[in-house]
């Protein structure tokens, strides 16, 4: 299944509203609010700001005096700050922290296609803060991953880099597998451009798999709004020596799924994510890469790339 051309939304906000636009992995997001300060972006997200665009997702931002927990069917409790509920024609995602007690400090009301959303900020919780970033993590990432999980892409836990001579390289891995180490090795040895040291988005475009940088970086702090096609994926693991071990397609789907961020609130987004990973591994070979955390790991990949292209 080839990803369909995106249908850009043309819904225009009321006149007099302030507007801002961002693009993450070719997903255009339009923000509007009555106050320009409500469109403030984090420094990482600012790198993803674009000019006016037709958008895949539109978010209106507004303040409300207080938010109470909704009376609605709870779909998923993350165990972290967010909980998802089902409502007529869409979903509610509430964000709570013990700092503010048992009441949401912000709420995202979104339609079933995750294309139109209303973000409510609680004045009771946030009104006294000097600096409020309405899209602050994990709301931004939740919105994008849920939109992608409609057969449009998948986010993976991985680092993506662009080497001047050998092109794009994607290394996926759990926490502690060596993503940040890998980015620092390639940066220092090869001067590689790092798209992200922690989160990459994969999307199919014109029969190729492209990896996209995201604003959600890791410890090394790399986040860039770039993209490049890839022709292989490496699954990082600690090793006593550098090895490149081909994975069967079924193994590859399993390993990628374990290192991705699928929505867990329903079977449809999970099924879509798995189907998308199948598409990817049908296009791109995947390899297990136990490696040593030194320059030899980079040389191993470069030698492998050289062998494949010769």
């Amino acid at each position: 299944m080839i990803a369909q051309a995106q249908q850009k939304r043309t819904t225009a906000p009321p006149a007099g509203m302030h507007r801002a636009w961002i693009r993450i992995a070719d997903v255009s997001i339009g923000l509007h609010a009555s106050c320009g300060e409500d469109l403030r972006l984090t420094s990482e997200m600012s790198a993803f700001r674009i000019g006016e665009a037709k958008c895949d997702i539109e978010i209106s931002i507004a303040w409300t005096e207080r938010l109470k927990r909704p009376i609605a069917n709870k779909l998923f409790d993350s165990g972290a700050v967010w909980t998802m509920y089902e409502r007529d024609h869409g979903y509610i995602i509430d964000f709570e922290t013990p700092v503010f007690g048992l009441r949401p400090y912000k709420r995202l009301c979104v339609d079933r296609s995750f294309s139109e959303a209303r973000l409510l900020l609680s004045r009771e919780c946030l009104g006294e803060l000097d600096l409020v970033h309405a899209l602050e993590y994990p709301l931004d990432e939740l919105l994008v991953t849920n939109w992608l999980a409609q057969g449009k892409g998948v986010e993976v836990h991985g680092c993506g880099l662009v080497d001047g001579a050998t092109g794009g390289h994607l290394f996926v891995g759990h926490s502690g597998a060596g993503k940040s180490t890998t980015t620092m090795l390639w940066k220092s040895m090869r001067g590689a451009q790092i798209l992200s040291d922690d989160r990459m988005i994969l999307r199919e475009q014109q029969n190729e798999v492209w990896m996209h940088g995201t604003p959600w970086h890791g410890e090394a702090g790399f986040a860039a709004a770039g993209k490049i096609p890839i022709d292989r994926i490496f699954v990082l693991a600690h090793g006593s020596r550098n090895e490149i071990i081909p994975l069967s397609r079924s193994q590859a789907v399993g390993e990628l799924f374990a290192r991705s961020f699928p929505p867990f609130h329903g079977h449809r987004p999970l099924d879509s994510t798995l189907a998308y990973l199948h598409q990817i591994v049908n296009s791109v070979p995947c390899y297990l890469f136990p490696f040593l955390p030194d320059d030899s790991a980079v040389e191993t990949i470069l030698n492998f790339s050289g062998q494949e292209s010769s």
């Binding site: 165990g79 990432e141 922690d198 970086h217 410890e219 702090g221 374990a258 961020f261």
Partner: protein, 58 residues
């Protein structure tokens, strides 16, 4: 095609299905947790951060 016309060498050897164990990390796959000095899991009740997190579930 009858059996006598099939090339026996073209038949693949049967491989029985294999089960593989994939390590899942739900505390990483579910968005919203941060990595700090004491935990790599979900945001704990001791978290007082509301502002931007510098290390997003790395």
């Amino acid at each position: 095609m009858t059996d006598e016309h099939r090339d026996p060498e073209s038949k693949k050897a049967y491989q029985s299905p294999k089960l593989s164990v994939i390590s899942l990390r739900p505390e990483e796959a579910v968005l919203g947790h941060c990595k700090n000095a004491s935990t790599a899991g979900p945001v704990s009740t001791s978290c007082t951060m509301v502002g931007p997190c510098m290390v997003v579930g790395s």
